[in-house]
């Protein structure tokens, strides 16, 4: 027995060394481009360091006057985030609940459709969406906001998985039947019974959508619409310092969102029996 314990202690030491080495090396690789961005945006003309670029980035007046494209892009992306999350939730949560309650035979089909975008590269989707968006522009106008229709398709697989996990963890059928037998209508069941019970799943589906929409470039750029990434790319041709600073700020924002999400997920995991 003593031998096994010693062996285990030795392995633990070796694992710790291995872990530190690998995390340090990969961490260095991850860090270098980020350091590059920080270094580039703090360069002062003629050498030395300055925070001028960052002061400009957070000075709304200057951004408004000198970098209008950044403001437009940011506004468009904010609108897209809200609209994408709204359409995604309004469409998916009731559909997935309904399928579980009344149409269990359709579950595989709904899942298939939701996972499908994973196998279709965004660039391919753009090719097929071009005629569809000609109609969207015809009926609804040329606003960048309508990109949300395509973004919902992009987030479908991730949102579906998050929501599916949430709905699997509760007994949808019993909850709905109990509410119905007490006289609740379907909207009440949806809003006051199902939604509160899957709120962590709804949160994580929304967070994933936010991260994806903030980073989207392909569709917006090829349809010549505005969003944050398109604006940053455009700005890069004119003023690389401010463009790189904006890109880094967006990256940090997304990191904070996902880091916060890891705590939401952990809170859910803690009161659920662990598998295996």
């Amino acid at each position: 027995m003593a031998g096994t314990v010693k062996l285990r202690a030795a392995r633990r030491r070796k694992q710790t060394i291995f872990r530190r080495l690998v995390v340090a090396l990969v961490g260095l690789f991850f860090a270098l481009p980020i350091v590059g961005m920080v270094e580039f945006t703090t360069r002062a003309p003629g050498g030395g360091r300055t925070l001028d670029t960052w002061a400009t980035l957070f000075d709304l007046g200057v951004i408004n006057a000198d970098y209008p494209e950044l403001k437009t892009g940011l506004q468009a992306s904010a609108g897209l985030v809200v609209l994408t999350v709204a359409i995604m939730l309004v469409m998916l949560v009731p559909t997935m609940t309904w399928v579980r309650l009344r149409l269990p035979g359709m579950r595989r089909l709904v899942e298939f459709i939701c996972i499908l975008p994973l196998t279709i590269p965004a660039i391919v989707l753009v090719v097929g969406l071009a005629p569809v968006y000609a109609w969207v522009a015809y009926f609804l106008g040329e606003s960048s906001l309508w990109l949300a229709f395509a973004y919902v398709v992009l987030v479908l697989p991730y949102a579906y998985r998050a929501l599916d996990a949430g709905l699997s963890a509760i007994d949808v059928k019993t909850l709905a039947e109990a509410a119905r037998s007490l006289g609740a209508g379907w909207p009440t069941v949806m809003w006051r019974i199902i939604l509160p019970n899957v709120r962590t799943a709804v949160l994580s589906a929304s967070f994933l959508s936010v991260a994806l929409v903030l980073g989207e470039f392909t569709i917006a750029s090829l349809f010549s619409r505005d969003n944050l990434q398109v604006a940053i790319n455009l700005l890069g041709k004119r003023d690389s310092s401010i463009a790189i600073a904006a890109a880094l700020a967006a990256l940090v924002l997304a990191f904070i969102v996902l880091f916060a999400m890891s705590f939401v997920g952990a809170a859910r995991g803690s009161h659920r029996p662990k598998e295996n």
């Binding site: 291995f18 469409m91 149409l103 499908l116 392909t218 090829l222 295996n276």
Partner: protein, 279 residues
């Protein structure tokens, strides 16, 4: 009948924004400019610049899938030895979540700021006598793009592969050790074979990830279209030669075909994986 009405909005929406666009690509690849059936678009794929774009894309995706898988797997194993719910694991998974998603413009700019002609690493290397600034290596598919793509492949590998590594039970290792197995024996006969299907599956996922990527290359490369997504993007934004209006759709169909083959392999492997790791 009433029950079906409840799923109607979902099917209507996905029909318009997912199914119809897919059909437009698939059918359009076989139509000419006047909507008559033709195989001309497919035979136009034999043009040298399109063939070379496909080859570049496949090689680039394969190389970065292997690099990302190897380094990402090492990282995943390293992270899995840290305490569960600890800061390191949480930081690493969130960081990788962002870095895997946030390719695109940000990443292209980051690399330009680091190893571009004015990048800090370039300037620093110049001081010690290595000149990177003179060449356009960063913008070439087999050099710069491999480096940049590997940057988002490693984090994706961590996210995809970590659950598999966590599925390795300590009891298996203890059982092997109690029978006298060394670390090498354990990985060769127990850990390796169990993880192999997930590893290859994750590698296939990485392949499609790199193969589909458009934004990073588009933001990085301003001249020429060395990879297939850029070629397709080019057909959308520029004038196309008469008689080849739908060549972009044919290229898109080619991409879908390659992704479909890879994803089919992935699904087959995934079935094998679930047998042992019980996910």
């Amino acid at each position: 009948m009433g029950a079906l009405l409840g799923v109607l909005p979902f099917f209507a929406y996905t029909a318009i924004f997912l199914v119809i666009p897919t059909l437009i690509v698939v059918v359009g690849a076989f139509l000419d400019g006047k909507n008559r059936p033709t195989l001309g678009n497919l035979s136009a794929l034999a043009q040298p610049q399109i063939v070379s774009a496909f080859v570049h894309s496949v090689v680039l995706s394969a190389v970065t899938a292997v690099l990302g898988a190897v380094f990402g797997a090492l990282l995943a194993y390293a992270v899995s030895t840290a305490s569960e719910g600890g800061l390191l694991r949480r930081m690493m998974t969130s960081l990788c979540g962002v870095l895997a998603q946030f390719g695109g413009v940000t990443l292209a700019f980051a690399f330009v700021a680091t190893v571009g002609s004015e990048g800090f690493l370039t300037l620093w290397l110049k001081n010690i006598g290595i000149d990177l600034a003179g060449s356009t290596w960063l913008y070439e598919p087999y050099k710069g793009l491999i480096l940049v793509y590997t940057y988002f492949q490693i984090p994706l590998m961590l996210i995809v592969f970590l659950p598999a590594v966590e599925g390795l039970r300590p009891q298996w290792r203890e059982a092997a050790e109690s029978l006298g197995a060394s670390t090498w024996h354990y990985w060769r006969h127990v850990g390796g074979p169990i993880l192999a299907p997930s590893f290859i599956g994750a590698m296939l996922l990485l392949f499609t990830n790199a193969f589909s990527a458009y934004a990073t290359a588009a933001a990085l490369i301003s001249q020429g279209s060395p990879i297939i997504p850029l070629q397709i993007g080019g057909t959308l934004s520029s004038e196309v030669i008469l008689g080849q209006e739908n060549i972009g759709k044919a290229m898109a169909l080619g991409m879908v075909a390659i992704v479909a083959v890879v994803m089919t392999l992935y699904v087959v492997l995934e079935r094998r994986t679930t047998r042992w790791l019980g996910r």
